[in-house]
Symmetry: C2
Subunit: 152 residues, 2 copies
């Protein structure tokens, strides 16, 4: 889908505030409400806007800690990787999971309430996925930035 300057302004605004009123959005991007809303709907239908979400404060629901875990699989055949992928995707504590080329086979970002909470998760869920040979966990000492706003 081709995006013009107004579309980009709409996307920027909705990435900042996904619940912004259409009137306000229209004023910000320099349109009247109806064509503005029409563009938003088009962007949704085209899949440029994937969805709208509420962003929670992890600490306030007892998920304040982040862990990065690198994972090595026993083998790198499609079956092992595929099974790992489907299983790890089911774990709600896993916020991100990437298959990697090179050193490790996969990397996941996990949220947990505490180190013990994480340890339990690792031993009871992550390590039990068939094919997982080894895991190594890194703990960030501080989060500098964590956004969903793509540059546009």
């Amino acid at each position: 889908m081709k995006l013009d300057d107004i579309d980009r302004r709409i996307l920027r605004a909705l990435q900042r505030d996904g619940r912004m009123a259409n009137n306000e959005l229209a004023a910000e991007v320099g349109l009247s409400p109806s064509p503005c809303l029409r563009r938003v709907k088009l962007l949704e239908e085209a899949g440029v806007i994937d969805r709208y979400v509420a962003v929670l404060n992890p600490a306030s629901i007892g998920k304040g800690l982040t862990f990065f875990t690198r994972i090595w699989l026993k083998t790198q055949d499609e079956d092992t990787i595929g099974h790992f992928a489907t299983e790890v995707a089911k774990l709600p504590q896993v916020m991100e999971c990437y298959l990697m080329l090179g050193d490790c086979d996969a990397m996941v970002r996990v949220v947990a309430a505490s180190i013990d909470d994480y340890r339990r998760f690792q031993s009871e869920h992550l390590s039990r996925i068939r094919g997982v040979q080894n895991v190594k966990t890194d703990v960030p000492s501080q989060t500098i930035k964590h956004t969903s706003e793509l540059p546009i």
Copy 2:
């Protein structure tokens, strides 16, 4: 803030669809619209709901590739780290940045249109931040999961 079961259901629903109509939300969590909306407002004021955002499809705006970069700083003094943190946070291509203990000093997730786009970013922005000694980039071959839905 203490959360009861209805609050958690509200949070789960709004993480799935942050623009859900209040009537629909109320029906889903088993309340009438007014107390439901009141709870949502309280959750917002308490900071449990941080904000609402539109989630874009990165590929559709030409930011389809993800890169992980580990960063080593020349020194680990507060000044060097602090300067790095403020500068890296300004870069819109940087979606996540964590300070790490152990091997590397920081890790960032960067989005870019292409490998060349990323290379340019690395040499023109990342490596030029004062104190940055070395960087190593890993490219995920596949994204298995990438969500903002915290388990609650």
